[in-house]
C-alpha cells in the first residue's frame, strides 16, 4: 500500500475544500425535506397570512346610530356618513345607554347620536350638535373616523351656510389630494415590499446559522478541522447553497407579490434582485456570526430571532422611521433591513432606478463585506 505516484491534487489556496463541501451541502439540503420545507414554504405561508391580515385601510367601520329626530335633516346627515364608505351603519338604537353598550361590547366601533334638538337648532340658526362616539382602542380606526366625521360635518355646514343643494354646490376652496405611487393606498402595496425583506432575512440567517451549528452539534466540525479544508473553503461551501435557496425564494416571493397580491412593480425587477445580493451576503455574515456563538440549534434560533426583532420594528417595515425618537432613528440606520426596505419600496412602488438608490446599495455592500470578514475571522480563530 505504498503511496506510489499519487494522483492527489492538494487543496491549494484559501478556498481549499470548497467543491467537496458544496457538493456535500447540496446532498444535505436534498436529504432534509424538513429544512427545505422550512426554507421554501414557511416564508410563503407567512407571506399569505401577513399579506391578507395586515390591512390598515379603514373602510366599512361598524357604526351604530341613535337618531332621536328621525326626520329629513337627520336622514340627510346619515346618508352623508354612509356614502363616505368609511362608515357602515349596522344598527339603530333608541337610547344613550344602548349606544354606549354597543361600543363597549364591540358590536360597533363608532356611535352617532343625533339629539332631539338637531332639526330645531338648524331651523333657528343655532349650532346643531351631533355626537360621534369613537372607540379609541384601535388608533388607526379612531384617527381615520374622527377625521372623516369632521369633514362630513364641515361639508354639511358649508352646504347649509351657502344654502346650496348638493347637486350644484361649489365651494370656494377644495383640497384635491393625489397620492403618488400607491393611489388606492392599498396595504399590500406598502407592506409586502417590506415583508419580502424580513422573510429573506429570517430565512438566510437561520439556514446559515443552522448549517454550521448542526455540524458542531454532530461533532463533524471538529473532524473537518482536522482535514486540509481551509476555513474559507468550508465557510463559503456551506453558505453558497443557502444563498442560492434564499435567492430562489426571493424570486418566488416577488412573483407571488406581483401575481397573487397584484402589487405592481414600477421599477426594474433585475435591479431589485441585484441590489438584494449585498443584503443576502450581509445576512449570511450575521448567520455565520451567530453560528460562532451558538452551541446548539436552540441557541441559534434565539439569537436569530434576537436579530430579527429590531429588523421588524426599527427598519421602517411597520413604523415609519421619521416618527421614531432620535435614538431609534439612529439605531434604524445600522440595521441592514432598513436599507433594503428603502430599496425595495423605492423600486416596486416608486419605480426608482439605480441612481436614486445607489447610496443604500453602497451601504449594504459595505455592511456585507465588513460582517462577512468579521465573522470569517471569528470562525477562523475557532478552527485554531
Amino acid at each position: 500500500m505504498s503511496r506510489g505516484d499519487p494522483n492527489v491534487r492538494p487543496l491549494k489556496g484559501p478556498f481549499g475544500g470548497l467543491i467537496p463541501v458544496l457538493r456535500k451541502e447540496a446532498i444535505h439540503l436534498r436529504r432534509d425535506p424538513m429544512a427545505l420545507f422550512f426554507a421554501v414554504f414557511v416564508p410563503v405561508i407567512q407571506l399569505f397570512l401577513l399579506g391578507y391580515a395586515i390591512n390598515t385601510n379603514v373602510r366599512d367601520v361598524r357604526t351604530v346610530v341613535y337618531d332621536a329626530v328621525k326626520d329629513q335633516d337627520s336622514q340627510r346627515l346619515l346618508d352623508r356618513f354612509e356614502n363616505s364608505n368609511d362608515f357602515k351603519i349596522v344598527s339603530f338604537v333608541d337610547s344613550d345607554a344602548e349606544l354606549n353598550s354597543a361600543i363597549i361590547k364591540g358590536t360597533a366601533r363608532v356611535g352617532i347620536k343625533i339629539p332631539p334638538d338637531y332639526s330645531r337648532n338648524l331651523l333657528s340658526g343655532e349650532t346643531a350638535q351631533v355626537l360621534v362616539l369613537v372607540d379609541g382602542s384601535d388608533s388607526m380606526v379612531s384617527g381615520e373616523t374622527s377625521n372623516v366625521a369632521n369633514a362630513i360635518a364641515f361639508q354639511e355646514s358649508l352646504d347649509r351656510l351657502l344654502g346650496a343643494s348638493e347637486s350644484r354646490g361649489s365651494l370656494p376652496v377644495e383640497v384635491r389630494r393625489k397620492i403618488l405611487f400607491n393611489p388606492d393606498s392599498r396595504s399590500p402595496n406598502f407592506f409586502i415590499p417590506g415583508l419580502i425583506v424580513v422573510l429573506l432575512q429570517m430565512m438566510t440567517v437561520m439556514l446559515t446559522a443552522f448549517a454550521i451549528v448542526r455540524e458542531r452539534e454532530r461533532g463533524t466540525l471538529e473532524q473537518l478541522f482536522m482535514t486540509p479544508v481551509r476555513p474559507l473553503g468550508l465557510m463559503v461551501g456551506k453558505i453558497v447553497p443557502y444563498a442560492c435557496v434564499g435567492f430562489g425564494e426571493l424570486v418566488f416571493v416577488i412573483a407571488i407579490m406581483r401575481f397573487v397580491f397584484a402589487v405592481p412593480i414600477n421599477g426594474s425587477v433585475l435591479l431589485l434582485l441585484a441590489m438584494t445580493i449585498p443584503f443576502i451576503v450581509t445576512m449570511l455574515g450575521v448567520g455565520l456570526l451567530i453560528s460562532t456563538r451558538a452551541n446548539s440549534q436552540q441557541e441559534a434560533i434565539q439569537l436569530a430571532f434576537g436579530t430579527l426583532m429590531p429588523s421588524i420594528f426599527l427598519s421602517g417595515y411597520i413604523f415609519p422611521i421619521d416618527s421614531m425618537p432620535a435614538a431609534f432613528q439612529w439605531m434604524s440606520r445600522i440595521i441592514p433591513a432598513t436599507y433594503l426596505i428603502e430599496i425595495s419600496r423605492g423600486i416596486i412602488l416608486r419605480g426608482a432606478g439605480f441612481f436614486d438608490l445607489w447610496k443604500q446599495g453602497l451601504i449594504l455592500s459595505i455592511m456585507g463585506i465588513v460582517l462577512t470578514l468579521v465573522s470569517a475571522m471569528r470562525f477562523r480563530r475557532q478552527v485554531g
Binding site: 492527489v8 475544500g17 446532498i27 444535505h28 461533532g219 471538529e222 478541522f225 482535514t227 486540509p228 478552527v383
Partner: protein
C-alpha cells in the same frame, strides 16, 4: 526519525495548563496507546499534534513537520477519527467516503484505487448505499476509519475509537489496526480499555495534564513504585473466595487484596512464601488453595501511579 516527537510540549488556555511539558516519541509502525482520565488532556494533545492548537511552550514534530508552523502539511498527511461517531448520518456510506476523498484532494485513478482498497479493507461493500446513521456501532466505526484512512495517511490519530461498540466489533477493529501497522502505518490511540492498552506497543499515561508514565506495558509493570520495595503479587485460587479474602485481609503481611473472578489477587510482603499462605488458609478452613506469582496488570500500574500523583499534588498544595 520518529513519526511523532514532542519536547516539553505545553498547551495553556489562559491560566489553565491543559498539557504540561509532555515529551514523547512514537516510531513508525507502532501502535501507541494514550491513556488517562477524562479531562486530563488527551484530546488537547491530539489537537496540538494536528496543528489545531499552538504550543504555548516546547515543540512538537509530526511526520517531520513542525506542529506550530507546518500545520497544513500535517493535516494533509495524517488521519483523524474522533471518539464520537462524527460522520454525516444523512449521507450514505459511499457519499461519506467520497466527501472525505474530496476533502483530501484525491483525484482520478488514485481516487478510484483508494476507494476500492478502503472498501475492501473495511468490507463496507455491501453497505455503500446505506445511510450512515442506519449502520450499527461497529460498522459506523469502520466507516469512520475508512474516511480517516482514505488518503493513505502514514499516521492515524484515533480518539477513543472503540467507545461504546460491542466486543466483537472491537476485536475486529483492532485486528484491522494490527494489519495496517504491519504495513507501516503508525497509530496514536486513546482508550480507557486496559486490554486495548496491553495490545499497544507502547503506552503513555497522562494525569492532570502531565505524562506520568511512558513505555512498553512490560516496562511500566516493572516501575518500582507500582510494586513497592519488599512486596510481590500473587494470585490465589481457592473455594469460597470472598470468605477467604476476609481472612487474608486480617493477616498483617497482606498489603491489599482484590477479588478477580474466582481468584484473589494479593500484594504481600516479599518474605512470605507461597507455602505459608497455603498453610494459613488451610488453618482457617480453606483447603486446597493454589498460589501463583503474577506481575502487576496495567490497571494496577495506572491506579497506583494515579494515587501517587494525586498524593504528591496534595502535599504540594
Amino acid at each position: 526519525m520518529s513519526v511523532i516527537s514532542t519536547d516539553q510540549l505545553t498547551i495553556r488556555f489562559g491560566q489553565f495548563t491543559a498539557v504540561d511539558r509532555v515529551s514523547l516519541a512514537v516510531e513508525q509502525g507502532e501502535i501507541f496507546g494514550f491513556l488517562g482520565p477524562n479531562g486530563s488532556g488527551k484530546t488537547t494533545l491530539i489537537k496540538a499534534l494536528c496543528g489545531l492548537l499552538k504550543p504555548s511552550m516546547g515543540s512538537g514534530k509530526v511526520l517531520g513537520y513542525d506542529c506550530a508552523t507546518q500545520t497544513a502539511s500535517i493535516r494533509e498527511h495524517v488521519g483523524y477519527m474522533s471518539q464520537k461517531f462524527s460522520l454525516y448520518g444523512d449521507l450514505t456510506v459511499e457519499e461519506n467516503i467520497n466527501f472525505y476523498a474530496g476533502v483530501y484532494g484525491l483525484k482520478g485513478d488514485y481516487l478510484h484505487r483508494r476507494r476500492r482498497e478502503i472498501i475492501e479493507m473495511t468490507r463496507l461493500g455491501t453497505y455503500l448505499e446505506r445511510r450512515a446513521d442506519r449502520l450499527s456501532g461497529g460498522w459506523k466505526q469502520r466507516l469512520a476509519l475508512a474516511c480517516a484512512f482514505i488518503h493513505e495517511p502514514k499516521l492515524l490519530f484515533l480518539d477513543e475509537p472503540t467507545a461504546g461498540i460491542d466486543p466483537v466489533a472491537r476485536r475486529e477493529l483492532w485486528d484491522l489496526l494490527f494489519h495496517l501497522s504491519a504495513l507501516g502505518v503508525t497509530f496514536f490511540v486513546t482508550t480507557h480499555y486496559m486490554d486495548e492498552a496491553e495490545r499497544c506497543g507502547r503506552v503513555g499515561y497522562i494525569y492532570l495534564s502531565r505524562l506520568i508514565a511512558y513505555g512498553t506495558p512490560d516496562e511500566l509493570k516493572k516501575i518500582p513504585n507500582v510494586s513497592p520495595f519488599g512486596t510481590r503479587r500473587v494470585e490465589i485460587t481457592v473455594d469460597n473466595t470472598s470468605a477467604a479474602m476476609g481472612r487474608l485481609n486480617d493477616r498483617n503481611y497482606v498489603r491489599s487484596a482484590t477479588i478477580f473472578g474466582d481468584s484473589i489477587r494479593l500484594l504481600i510482603d516479599e518474605k512470605i512464601s507461597d507455602q505459608q499462605i497455603i498453610d494459613d488458609l488451610a488453618k482457617d478452613g480453606f483447603g486446597g488453595a493454589e498460589v501463583r506469582h503474577i506481575s502487576p496488570s496495567l490497571e494496577d500500574v495506572f491506579v497506583s501511579l494515579t494515587q501517587e500523583a494525586a498524593a504528591a499534588r496534595n502535599t504540594k498544595v
